[in-house]
């Protein structure tokens, strides 16, 4: 494939990326967060339509418009997001879309030997009681992933795409999958292998293509290439504009202390956020950063651990309401669904959280006071609006995000949790959001900032916790918070044992 370009709205996911697979090889696909690996794979598998792409197979040009097209050319994919139907059985899922039929009637007997053979091949990675007629919903996530892989293999592809297919697997399951992949390769199948575990790529692949910001930057033989060399290829030579010596606030007393927090996608996380500090959450995407913020905010249930704040001593947070009461605010990443009432007016959106403070006799809303509060906030945040009564959906992405931040600031929070607040926001609005964050910390708030953009973390965070599979695996402090350190720590931490990164090892935050 070459010249693959894909835009999502204004965001360029792929910008002329290319990839070439040879028969019988396992080809690694590497790159930092948001470099376009998954999008490139989806274009090849037909689930995403590229703006522009040239794909050739055996020297002949191909057009792939749908997964069915891809299947016709012998391309099968294992997706990061599983393509299984939970209510169907294992066998029904394995044959889904390619069921043998005569006159429209299913002929389970025809596919049964194939299903049995495939299950035998993967049996060691599945539980003892898993049979062809087990509903997929009854399987744990790892075994569902195995079924997903088995499904792709059963289609007898010439090109197999494995996109983070090993992320939820145990070691034994991974080695079984590797055996299957090696057997397929020996039979001439090409495999494109995406994993954030560099050691797996080193172990399985012969060559690797490295993507960075939607472009292919290198394609290299893996024999004779070290992990460090790969990482530096991924980081590239372009350096982040060094944080323009913004005066970083002095660390004050701790505002928020989290100890031993476990829950959904979280495993024994401890941290301390101080007065006037921006604490960044880094690492690869989806390693529990959002869940950590949501759990602190009470939107997800904590299984274990404690959260204490300097303001609400001993208060239990069971619900976002509790969190708001003791001065915690959350700006969610998915603003469209969690952060706002898109069709309601800007004024209502800004005032909804802090409503209780302005109620007259506890019931009626004073329109005058609501207007005044909203107007002063619009002013402070320099949000460009038409009228206060316009719906929020009429604003640009950046300004929408500022409205969401504004609605929490009216509540004067001591702790602000920001979950990837600048995703899909233009550069100018980003700068203003950064300025806002600085203003918050100057006023003594503690800010916890999750970002999928390592450049952004390097620019704004005073300290960064690097997360991996739900735990804090490293910490970068002060001058160690650089783009290079962030990317390499995120990638290297994935490689088995805790690589200590950065200079300062003052405990686990």
């Amino acid at each position: 494939m070459s010249g693959v370009t894909k835009h999502y709205g204004g965001v360029r996911a792929l910008d002329g990326a290319s990839l070439s697979l040879e028969a019988g090889e396992v080809h690694g696909l590497l790159g930092p967060n948001g470099s376009g690996k998954s999008t490139l794979n989806k274009v090849l598998a037909g689930t995403v339509a590229a703006d522009r792409a040239e794909i050739t197979l055996d020297g002949r040009p191909l057009a792939i418009h749908s997964p069915r097209d891809a299947h016709r050319h012998g391309i099968a994919a294992v997706y990061q997001q599983l393509s299984l139907i939970p209510d169907l059985t294992v066998a029904q899922n394995l044959t889904l879309g390619v069921e043998p039929a005569r006159a429209g009637f299913l002929r389970a007997r025809v596919s049964a030997p194939d299903v049995a053979e495939t299950l035998r091949q993967f049996a060691p990675a599945l539980g003892d009681r898993v049979t062809a007629s087990t509903p997929v919903a009854d399987l744990p996530p790892g075994e569902q992933q195995i079924v997903e892989i088995a499904k792709a293999v059963m289609r007898r592809p010439r090109i197999l795409i494995l996109d983070e297919a090993t992320a939820s697997l145990h070691r034994d399951q991974v080695s079984l999958v590797f055996d299957v992949v090696r057997r397929l390769c020996a039979a001439g199948v090409s495999v494109a292998f995406v994993s954030h575990r560099i050691d797996e790529v080193m172990q399985l692949c012969t060559r690797a293509t490295i993507l960075r910001s939607g472009r292919t930057v290198a394609s290299t033989e893996l024999a004779g290439t070290s992990e460090q060399e790969l990482v530096s290829l991924m980081i590239g030579q372009t350096r982040a504009p060094e944080a323009a010596a913004a005066p970083r606030a002095e660390k004050g007393e701790p505002r928020l202390t989290v100890t031993g927090l476990s829950g959904q996608n979280l495993n024994n996380v401890s941290l301390r956020a101080h007065r006037g500090e921006v604490l960044g959450l880094g690492g690869l995407q989806g390693q529990g950063q959002s869940e950590l913020l949501l759990t602190i905010f009470g939107a997800l249930r904590a299984r274990e651990g404690s959260i204490t704040t300097s303001s609400g001593r001993g208060a239990r947070i069971r619900h976002p309401r509790d969190a708001a009461r003791i001065g915690i605010a959350l700006v969610p990443g998915d603003r469209a669904t969690q952060g706002m009432f898109a069709q309601r007016s800007i004024q209502e959106n800004i005032s909804i959280v802090s409503l209780a403070r302005r109620l007259m006799a506890g019931v009626a809303i004073s329109a005058r006071r609501e207007r005044a509060a909203a107007a002063s906030m619009i002013d402070r945040l320099s949000i460009k609006i038409g009228r206060l009564t316009d719906p929020v959906s009429s604003l640009s992405g950046g300004n929408q995000q500022k409205v969401i931040i504004a609605k929490w600031l009216l509540n004067e929070p001591g702790i602000v949790l920001l979950d990837d607040p600048t995703k899909g926001v233009d550069v100018g609005a980003k700068a203003e959001i950064y300025a806002l964050i600085r203003k918050l910390t100057r006023n003594g708030a503690a800010v916890i900032f999750n970002s999928s953009d390592d450049r952004e973390l390097a620019e704004i965070a005073d300290r960064v916790l690097v997360m991996y599979e739900g735990s804090v695996k490293g910490e970068l402090d002060a001058e160690d918070v650089t783009y290079d350190n962030l990317v390499s720590s995120a990638l290297l931490i994935g490689m088995g044992d805790q690589h200590r990164v950065g200079g300062d090892e003052s405990g686990t935050a």
Binding site: P67, Q81, L96, G97, G104
Partner: protein, 318 residues
């Protein structure tokens, strides 16, 4: 907010609750109507059940595929008036009548399916709109009730074959049709699309075609329901079936089909339809005005949902 809605849509009446309700309905009915198990009473009861049973199967297929069809009642009305007009009361044209009714239903379903699956509009809104179109067309074909159904149809409908009433046979045949349909690749794909359209698409299921076909099949079943309705009433009526669409949704819910799609089956919907129809009987025997039927339907649905929530909560607690 949408999460809450999803959770409500996910609640599903358990199979046990559905059958329990059927037993309750039968017992109550038998107590109130001593002749309940007589051949005559079974025949006449089932004669009134058949149309709803057929439309409930139709609705179940659409709902399992992740859709919803509010226009099935209007399709029944349109198919029935067209069929009555075509047959013109002649015994020799009954076969033609069946063919026409099924064809009209299927074409209406095709319209629904194409708009929902190809144009990708909300099924609720689409079928709400097409329902008006279909009822309007029915009025054009037959402005006021009239026409005669071939006597052979009304006659056979109330007889029995080898001791089994034809109306009961009709329900059995309908269930068999569903059981045959279940063996097709299409229905497998319908379950997949209703379960997770994105995953189904990635798994090579032709999602658009599958969705469209659910509405076509539902339309065809509604055409059959129209013929049953004609056989029962003896004449055409463009206003018939106004409440049959909503009742079919109720039947599907009581029958344990998740409104979110992908789970449940038409057998449950058939039982649900019979439960609802018998509830109406029971209301009648309690000397409550028939205008309370909607209210009773609502209570039956809530009862069924409550039963299954209780039983699933107990299962979760274990």
């Amino acid at each position: 907010m949408s999460g809450m809605l999803d959770r409500i849509r996910d609640v599903r009446v358990g199979a046990l609750a559905t059958w329990a309700l059927l037993v309750i309905a039968v017992v109550l009915n038998a107590i109130l109507q001593p002749t309940f198990f007589s051949l005559y009473s079974i025949t006449s009861n089932f004669a009134t059940f058949v149309p709803l049973v057929l439309v409930a199967i139709a609705q179940a297929i659409v709902v399992v595929g992740g859709g919803l069809d509010l226009s099935l009642g209007a399709i029944v009305a349109l198919s029935s008036v067209v069929a009555v007009t075509v047959m013109g009361g002649e015994d020799g044209r009954v076969g033609l009548g069946f063919a026409v009714a099924i064809a009209v239903g299927a074409v209406c379903g095709l319209v629904n399916g194409l708009v929902v699956a190809v144009v990708r509009l909300q099924p609720l809104i689409v079928t709400f709109a097409t329902a008006s179109i279909f009822s309007g067309s029915a009025l054009v074909v037959m402005p006021k009730p009239g026409g005669t159904v071939p006597p052979v149809m009304t006659g056979i409908y109330r007889t029995a074959v080898a001791g089994v009433p034809v109306s009961v046979l009709a329900v059995l045949v309908a269930v068999c049709l569903w059981l045959v349909l279940r063996q097709t690749r299409l229905m497998r794909h319908v379950y997949a699309v209703g379960g997770d359209p994105g995953a189904a698409y990635a798994s090579l299921v032709p999602v658009t075609r599958t969705r469209t076909l659910t509405y076509v099949i539902a339309g065809a079943f509604s055409g059959l329901a129209a013929m049953a309705l004609l056989a029962n009433s003896g004449s055409g009526d463009p206003f018939v079936g106004a409440d049959i669409a909503l009742n079919s949704i109720a039947a599907v819910v009581v029958g344990g089909v998740a409104l979110r799609g992908g789970r449940g089956g038409a057998v449950g919907a058939v039982v649900g339809a019979i439960v609802l129809a018998m509830a109406a009987n029971i209301v009648f025997f309690f000397d409550v005005p028939t205008t309370y039927r909607q209210l009773v339907n609502g209570l039956v649905i809530i009862g069924a949902l409550a039963l299954s929530v209780l039983s699933s909560a107990r299962r979760a607690a274990r």
